[in-house]
Symmetry: C2
Subunit: 552 residues, 2 copies
């Protein structure tokens, strides 16, 4: 366990070696602040798990030191862990207006609104949190009001970018704070902690405005109804869709809970400009000419329960796809969702729609030239590429080396790695507990490797339960063995196999009992081994075998 | 059931509405021929399933009519179903030399080599198969000796492309048979049945030679060992790797069973030119200078058991990744494999290798301009886009319409759709049985929807087995209830929950017995419902509940 009495430690608790659940700890002596508290969606092998959040054991152990959580923006991978974390670690939350508005919606759902203190950070405001003094700088991203943090520490200034791109023509006219960033560079930056998501992409990420042009073009030309799906939090894109609808005389109906919520919050807080007459209820669609309607919907990732997916399989209560409809997916598949999205597109085509699913999206993360620009603006002594899988961090590090950053001054971290800064020197200083907490239903952390291993086994070849009742006195079989199978084979087509298996278990038990072997554990092991071997020979499958021996 | 006495029927039995398991039936009167017999890899929801092949019920019902299977090339999605299908449908197989060589390897593994008749088709040879007369035309693809078929039928000429691209500078100098295809167009083509895989991609697919240039450049510059992974069947690419190794004085070691097999077969049949001194055994690597070694390996899709994946996680018996190694993935992720590949790349980077995983691949399928060229060369009256998911077939159809094909003459088929041609007219003529047969271990078709549904349930929230022994005479509980859980929760952390659940089951049974309800089905249903409701309230999970009631 590293001591950090009079030195600065930077500790990624999430978002390194992975995409999602971003969380970074800044620690000096008796003071800790945390930047972001995200969630991520489960890996394929995390069967049945709903979401994944960072392990905050170390923060809980140091509860009295934590001065607050600073949040860069309102995406799930930066705020989604908050409701779970604030339940055990009730500290103030700092952020910009829209970000806090979105967090509020979340806390309401979890009945936490009254217990959590939230503070809006003003422009150019310095927040004092223990020894740390924090101000934000504005960056561009796929949600408004996104910031990074300049964290003044006793060891020097740390620039934490959060997710960012440099959009030279942003939709809301608000460019990234180039002047502030350059100013930090002039003052001297101890360390840059920067987003690596798009480190593999050469060039510049195009401006969000280029998507607006494409959308304008599509809305101008569509002959009938338009159903457009995008990320509910991409308020800039939603703005451009609404602007195009208004320009071409279409009313807009919103479907999908998260789309409705995000748009409501954004209108209330002044982040979205909509003419009062533009929005209509989805029930009014039927009474209108198709070319006067635009439906703005969730489901751009093919999520099985989302509005668009339900429309695609004719299971939406209010909207049915018709020939003549134009469906626009203003999005890009998040890795892992490709198959869901493809299926949705196929179904939409089959229902007769014209589906446009390529070229109506730009990333919210900066590409290589923007990552270089960030490094050149801030000119850091030390560099920590974060927010990315290892290869992205490595590639980001290589970009920094190309720009002249000393390779020895670059720290490619894993979860829980402590990077210590003292007297202008930095080094790896051990590890703190960190990792992954799986949330399944109401259970936080009660699913772990053994449970997942069982689910995996069960999912591959199913289970056979073998039940037998033995006599308490003689050990002879009173009833059974009965074999019940689930997820293994069709019972009807495999009667012979299961009959043979039953006989085999019976003869095994009879033999053991006559040999005076009667410990349950031995009997169970014998059943499991004999049956497992037989079934593998016959089927090349390895179902889980659960022997249950009763006494009567 | 359609009658097809004196008309031609084209029936896709695989490869439409999907990528993979390609199979097309041509049928006239008492004669049937089949083109290709592929497999595909299971969809995500086909838990535990190994591979998937077409349902050939209809062919088996018409066994005596089937004159042969014509195979376009040696990829799994065109030949992988053969060993399973030939077991029930022993008909002659026709193909080019390399294709038959690769099929031979397969049949050997399944002990089928002696029972199956295989015929090599010569250049410009016409094969008579019932009323059909079949010749091949050469096309370019990511495996040598790929052909399409010109099928002369009593109703006219059908051109079946198989997988194809037009490579203007092919590695083996053998261009697609533009003259033959144009000749068919002059004669008059009744129908074109064409590959839709890349229908969504604009432009031309680059030549395989462009990959050779990139590989040459990388081999020239790599400072230490090179480990290059590509598709084992892409013999043209393997040739270019070997040529580059020879040019820069590197010896080549082959690892991975399929890579070894394919290279052996290709050398034997004369499809690969290798200097006798180039190939070395992998055991010799250790004694050589790193910059004199190139390891050609399987695993470009991150397959968990492949050579490269084992190297990446330091589990390969003979090759360990070292700093200074250059690892080249000359491939592109097949949809669904992205996560496996990313993990492998991350592990290779962590082991210190420089990993090059982008830009060393071109597709084997033609893009939109090549699909248009095929249509313009053959000038078909009717058009059937196949080999693709629905949106690719639809997009391919739209390309044909742009070129002037009558939309009414285009048939976008689903599995088993019969397209009938008679007297120069065509129409949908019903459906024949068709679909998907899942292979799990040794079982062919014994896994179906119920088994998969159970596996799905088990994988999400696991299973609870509830065992109780009741008295035969009084119905009172003699032992239990005992609850055994797998894949649900950590038992140690959930003792209170499981205790409570046990009490609930007990009180439910006691109440029912005292109410004189004693049918097992009612008792089981009550246990399942009561327990299910309780667990959902407490955990928001729905494990499978398996009540087992014994009598003694």
């Amino acid at each position: 366990m590293p001591k950090s009495k009079s030195r600065l430690a930077i500790v990624p608790l999430g978002g390194v070696g992975e995409i999602g659940k971003n969380m970074t700890l800044y620690w000096y002596g008796n003071d800790m602040i945390v930047v972001d508290a995200g969630l991520k969606f489960p890996e394929e092998e995390m069967l049945g798990v709903d979401i994944v959040i960072p392990d905050i054991t170390f923060l809980v152990e140091n509860k009295e030191k934590v001065r607050g959580i600073f949040v860069t923006h309102g995406h799930e991978d930066h705020i989604g862990g908050l409701p779970y974390i604030l339940k055990t670690l009730n500290v103030p939350v700092y952020g910009t207006r829209l970000t806090l508005g979105l967090i509020e919606n979340k806390l309401k759902e979890h009945n936490l609104l009254d217990t959590v203190k939230m503070h809006t950070i003003g422009d150019n405001q310095q927040i004092q949190a223990g020894v740390f003094s924090v101000e934000y700088f504005y960056v561009n991203h796929s949600i408004p009001d996104t910031v990074g943090f300049a964290i003044h520490t006793p060891e020097g200034l740390v620039v934490h970018t959060g997710d960012f791109k440099f959009d030279q023509t942003p939709v809301d006219g608000r460019q990234a704070d180039l002047q502030k960033l350059a100013g930090y560079g002039s003052q001297g930056v101890l360390a840059l902690v920067a987003d690596s998501t798009n480190a593999e992409r050469p060039g510049f990420t195009p401006s969000e405005k280029s998507v607006g042009k494409t959308i304008d073009h599509l809305v101008a030309q569509a002959p009938g109804r338009i159903i457009l799906s995008t990320f509910a939090s991409n308020i800039h894109r939603v703005q451009q869709v609404i602007t195009a609808a208004e320009r071409y005389g279409r009313k807009v109906a919103i479907v999908g809970r998260s789309m409705v919520n995000n748009i409501q919050t954004s209108i209330q807080l002044g982040y979205l400009n909509v003419l009062p007459s533009t929005l209509i209820d989805v029930d009014e669609i039927g009474r209108m000419d198709p070319d006067k309607v635009l439906i703005l919907s969730t489901g751009s990732q093919g999520e099985p329960m989302s509005a668009l997916t339900r429309m695609a399989r004719s299971a939406h209560r209010k909207v049915e796809i018709m020939p003549g409809d134009t469906v626009i997916l203003a999005s890009h598949p998040i890795p892992g969702n490709e198959k869901f999205i493809s299926r949705t597109i196929d179904q939409l085509f089959k229902a007769g729609a014209n589906v446009i699913y390529q070229g109506v999206h730009v990333s919210g993360h900066g590409s290589q030239e923007e990552l270089k620009l960030m490094i050149n603006l801030t000119r850091p002594k030390y560099f920590l590429p974060v927010h990315g899988e290892f290869r992205m961090q490595r590639t980001h590090a290589n970009l920094a080396i190309d720009l002249g950053v000393d390779p020895d001054n670059i720290f490619i971290t894993e979860l829980g790695d402590v990077v210590e800064f003292e007297g202008d020197r930095a080094r790896f200083g051990g590890k703190v507990p960190a990792g992954t907490v799986m949330i399944d239903g109401l259970g936080v952390g009660d699913v772990g490797n053994i449970v997942l291993r069982d689910r995996k086994l069960l999912s591959q070849d199913g289970i056979l339960v073998v039940v037998v009742t033995l006599s308490k006195t003689s050990g002879t079989i009173l009833s059974g063995p009965d074999i019940i199978s689930r997820g293994f084979v069709y019972v009807r087509e495999s009667e012979a196999l299961l009959d043979e298996a039953t006989k085999l278990v019976e003869s095994t038990l009879v033999r053991m009992v006559s040999d005076n072997i009667s410990e349950w554990s031995s009997l169970k092991t014998a059943v499991r081994d004999t049956l497992g071997r037989y079934l593998y020979e016959q089927t090349r499958r390895r179902p889980m075998i659960l022997p249950i021996i009763m006494e009567a």
